[in-house]
């Protein structure tokens, strides 16, 4: 193979790798935004019940708390290194420069969300509300630091 052919072949491989990487980044951003929407969809009715805007329904509260707990350990895989370069993302690049801190915050959410799912099985409205607020605090703490303003 001539030198120029080798170069073309190497470039083709490099470019296709870059193209895949770019798609992967966009895919990760789409995934994490999708997962946030799904969590928000389930978190909304819990918040409405906690604030008295919707009648408290223990079974509904527990069902949605269970879902959020299930989603909670699926978040981090949506933030692979380099995916701050995705075309559309609400994630600040600080996530990857402060990865340990960000990961800690994601795990705080996971821990409190799983605690909410456990508490919600006991049909105790006051305790549900107390634990709900702890989950909400973990969301807020992370979004304030790592989510771009709308």
């Amino acid at each position: 193979m001539s030198k120029s052919r080798v170069l073309i072949a190497v470039c083709a491989v490099a470019l296709s790798t870059l193209a895949v990487a770019h798609n992967k980044e966009d895919g990760a951003a789409e995934y994490r935004m999708g997962l946030m929407s799904v969590i928000g969809w389930n978190f909304g009715p819990l918040g409405a019940m906690v604030k008295g805007k919707q009648p408290f329904d223990a079974a509904e509260f527990s069902k949605r708390a269970d879902r959020i707990a299930n989603f909670s350990d699926q978040l981090l895989e949506g933030f692979p290194k380099g995916s701050d370069n995705a075309e559309h993302t609400a994630s600040k690049a600080d996530i990857w420069t402060n990865w340990e801190d960000f990961q800690g915050k994601a795990r705080d959410f996971e821990r409190e969300a799983k605690a909410l799912a456990a508490v919600a099985k006991n049909n105790d409205e006051a305790k549900d509300k107390e634990q709900f607020k702890k989950v909400a605090e973990t969301c807020k703490s992370c979004h304030e630091k790592y989510k771009k303003k709308d």
Copy 2:
């Protein structure tokens, strides 16, 4: 109250109801698109393993099949009546005019996805692949009829 004031008050209530309904529709569309992204994120590696583009990993296959099974009965609530009017949606209005048929297709997906999660616990690559194809068929059958072309 004068007639004009009554009219203004009635219009204000009507408009705020419309505004809420509109937000609810957009919220539902955002939720269902988010859930589709999350399902796709997990379905991708299964497809890659089935097609031999990624080494078969029984534990990974089972983990992602479990997730998809969990999501499968969370789809229908993302299609409330009227949400064909959402600002951004890939859903055809036919969904709501053929609701029974659409609901049947969503339940086909749910049944086959749950069967895949069950099959995947047995670490039998051939059976995993066979059942994966049945799930994929239910996606295709519904998308062809009810999803707008990109």
